[in-house]
Amino acid sequence: MEFDWSVVRYAAPLLAAGIVMTLKVSVVACVLGLVLGLAAGLASLSSSRVLRFLVRAYVDFIRGTPLLIQIFLVFFALPVVGVRLPEFWAGVAALAINSGAYIAEITRGAVGGVERGQTEAALSIGMTQRGVLWWVLLPQAWRPMIPALTNDLITLTKNSSLLSAISVYELTRAGQAVISTHFAPFEIYLLLALYYYLLITALSFASRRIERALPTW
């Protein structure tokens, strides 16, 4: 089999446009996932057993089912209950719901990882549990969360590839469109891999820079 450079030259700029969509999906899903995950993580630390149970069930469901199925559920099942989302928003929602579960676990772990003596010292000056969480635990927890969070963002960016299954015109879907007209799957998937690799490498680099710039104590 000949490696077809001409199709690569043809597809390279075309696919670059797909990167923009991949980035857009990832950034929006990441922001929503962060908000959802932090909220769920805090809920799992609350004294309400109902809230804790709900978060537990949510996290278990997300961890126990494939992301592709979750995407299809949001896209095909929600319209059944009357919520019809366009592909873009269905995809973003599915990714956000998925990463939110992992971010909830990261949040819970980081807050739980703060030394027990910190809570006791805060209680001893008359803080309530809520005050302890807000003024003592969270300010110490976010710093160790950053590596796990950036890791999660990278996973999310890679996972956005699955949105091709519901026709979101991101990088993978754009590649598949070229394949269907030019019949060069090897060349195009190789090109896609390269694009994802560069994207992820750039993200990793940026996240390491951010980590190093963070304050320590």
Binding site: E115, G117, Q118, E120, A121, A122, L123, S124, I125, G126, M127, T128, Q129, G131, W135, V136, P139, Q140, W217
Partner: protein, 251 residues
Amino acid sequence: MVSDELLVATHISKSFGEKLVLDRVSLTVRQGETVTIIGASGSGKTTFLRCLNRLETPDAGSIRLGEEVIGGPPATEANLARQRRLFGFVFQRFNLFPHLTALQNVALGPRRVLGLPRAAAEARAARDLDRVQLSEHAHKRPSQLSGGQQQRVAIARALSMEPRIILFDEPTSALDPELVQEVLDTMRALAADGMTMVVVTHEMRFARHVADRVVFMADGRIAEEGTPAALFDTPRDPRLQRFLRHLEPAV
């Protein structure tokens, strides 16, 4: 005289699982008094202190601080938090907030618990840091301070809530020997100022020279209590005699 009793703990019991750690411990502390608690490791000293300010919930017994019945109704979190701050608590390992400066450590309670405006909270924190002679280190983080300085910040943090009594749990045990004295000096000054204190300590010189009264705990009970002279010079309980024999001859 009954009226100057500040803290009255009656028949405090506490078990962890099957293990009875406190067996009907009773202690009365008068206003302005310094009481030290001594005893072998595992005798229940820490657990007793933690029961007093409800970091630990006693299984039985009652605690009164002034007019307040600690843990008494209403049994809400807010009421418990309010009662807890009537006690200062100084931990063996300081437990300062590492992300805050010394000043912020001390100001946090006044600001976030008492709701003082920032300037007022910081003014109070500055006052209390001055009281432990750390004004010039106000803007350092705990990690930039020596152990002795950290423990003094912790004492200032307790003072900032203007507690009626301060409980110290082996405040010098985690310190290098050369840093012990500055903390003991700070505590001695507080005692001289009339602060009411209960101090669990292995520093027998402090127990002898600063305390008004010494309590010896053994096996979850108060085995003997009295003036320092009575306990150190004429111990009656055989366990106390053995405990004192095992200490350095310096005592």
